[in-house]
């Protein structure tokens, strides 16, 4: 009886729960990769040097596993409340993590063994792609994150034997995934006029208008305006092609030089009246005009 009572008393003593250590690490995006964030995947940096300073672990680096918790909205607090549970790995399977009326909003997926991520990385460019398994259906698969959500991440150190969480990092900042924008929202209307186009258009339009104007003016001046003006500047317009200011008409009885009236204005030569009267000028005798007598001058 006393033994029974002692045993009961011992049983009632609170068993100290193994507390989960929080290491000073924060998962971050791998900035060097172009596809670091898409609509349903995120590429994180590997959890190096996060859990290496812990002591008194029940597993070695060859048996300790590193797991990842992506969580959205309420999932952070839900996970933090449940993380001490021994069945945490299967408490929220991936297929139902984000669906249903009150989803858990988190899931767990295995990243690798702790020995896979030594502090000094042998080769650079390590990454871990969350969502690499796509639309999968096992409990702990690395499936797509909900589109357009803003998940936060946390790495866990899990004992592979007990399947309990030994240590965890801090929650990362929430990383906003892209939501697919509709290309119809790209405004393809007025993109602005370049300076070149304005210059070319204005100068060419002005040049064409000026040319047309001058062409009309020239045509008006030369083809239509020519008839109304005097003929002073036109040679021989009265007498056709005659360009002789003064000529003798040999068929007349009284030959006298004929003054072409077209040259009225330009008379720079002497007329019949102003010619000097010498015998030479009256060489032709109207009486005997058919016989030519040579006279001594």
């Amino acid at each position: 009886m006393e033994v029974y009572l002692v045993l009961c008393f011992i049983c009632m003593l609170p068993i100290p729960a193994k507390s989960i250590t929080t290491v000073d690490c924060k998962p971050a995006i791998n900035e060097s990769l172009a596809a670091k964030i898409t609509i349903n995947t995120v590429i994180l940096q590997q959890p190096r040097c996060c859990f290496d300073n812990l002591t008194n672990l029940p597993c070695t680096s060859n048996t300790c596993e590193i797991w990842l918790v992506p969580a959205v909205d309420t999932g952070l607090s839900t996970f933090d409340a449940n993380k001490a549970s021994s069945a945490i790995l299967s408490l929220s399977p991936y297929p139902t993590a984000f669906t249903g009326s009150s989803p858990a909003n988190y899931f767990l997926t295995k990243v690798g063994l702790q020995s896979d991520f030594p502090c000094v990385s042998p080769s650079p460019g390590g990454y871990f792609r969350v969502g690499a398994d796509g639309a999968c259906s096992t409990t702990n698969c690395n499936g797509f994150l909900p589109q357009g959500s803003s998940p936060s991440f946390k790495y866990l150190l899990v004992d592979s034997v007990n399947k309990t969480v030994l240590a965890e990092t801090k929650w990362s900042d929430s990383i906003a995934l892209y939501t697919l924008k509709d290309p119809g929202t790209l405004g393809d209307g007025f993109a602005g006029r370049s300076g070149a186009m304005v210059i070319i258009t204005t100068l060419l339009s002005v040049a064409a208008a000026v040319l047309l104007l001058f062409l009309i003016v020239v045509l008006a001046l030369c083809c239509c305006g020519g008839k109304s003006k005097g003929s002073g500047s036109v040679v021989g317009s009265v007498m056709g092609s005659f360009r002789i200011p003064r000529y003798d008409t040999h068929h007349l009885k009284d030959p006298a030089p004929y003054d072409n009236p077209a040259y009225e204005k330009e008379r720079k030569y002497t007329t019949q009246d102003t010619l000097p009267k010498t015998k030479a000028t009256s060489a032709v005798n109207p009486v005997t005009q058919d016989t030519i007598k040579l006279q001594k001058i």
Binding site: S32, L33, A34, A35, K36, I37, T38, I39, N40, T41, I43, G125, Y127, R129, G134, F144, Y178, L180, K181, D182, P183, G184, L186, G187, D188, A191, G192, R193, S194, A196, M197, I200, T201, L203, L204, S205, A207, A208, V210, L211, L212, F214, L215, V218, L219, L221, C222, S233
Partner: protein
Amino acid sequence: MASRGGLTWLMIIVILCNAFAAAAGLALFALAIWVAVDGYKLYPISGVSGKDDIFAGAWIAIFTGFAYFCTCIFGIYAARKQRRSLMLAYLIIMFIIFIFECASCITAATNRDYLVGNSNVVKKQMLQYYAEDSTKGREITKTWNKVMQDVECCGTDSPLDWVEYNSTFRQLYGTTYPWPLNCCKRLSSFEVADSQGCIIGQTSTMFTRGCFTHIESVLSRYTWAVSWYGFSVQMFVFFMLLIAMVYFTQLG
């Protein structure tokens, strides 16, 4: 009447200007042929959008360039003959060609502004038509594949265009590949060098700059050939026609 010496000088000037304009017209003809042939094979980008007047302007410039060449030779003949009727015919024909060439320059410049003023038109076209199974889709897919491989670029402004926007490619092929495999570097055997690295976006395995700079520079090059060179020919022809009109008024 103007002194015979002055008229002769004017005739010589008109003949020389016409000879120069004939050469310039022939050069315009050749340059417009280069644009119309489209050595960079970027016609579908303007053709699918319906605004392909850069190439229409080039076709007009082919005809006007050759017409300038022929009419200027006729102009040399008309100036030499010193006959008003010939000079009048020359002036009227040159004016008609001038109007057509103006149209070519202006429309080429305007359409270039619409197409590549900013990257939205080209980006929207790429998202909508790449990988689509229609005539337009096939043309655009072929053009973009060639550009991405030759110029070593991805997307319009950057590969993130494929990630940020919904597209026919995304609808058809899901989210396994963030961008088409033509964005990935290839070996000389045309296989993708590192398809896993390309999917996650390692900069050493894919092209990370956008293709818009190349497309914009090619279409601008075509446009400046047609519209700026056409503009300079037009300015020269404008002053030459003014001199020819003066010569026309001085003729008997």
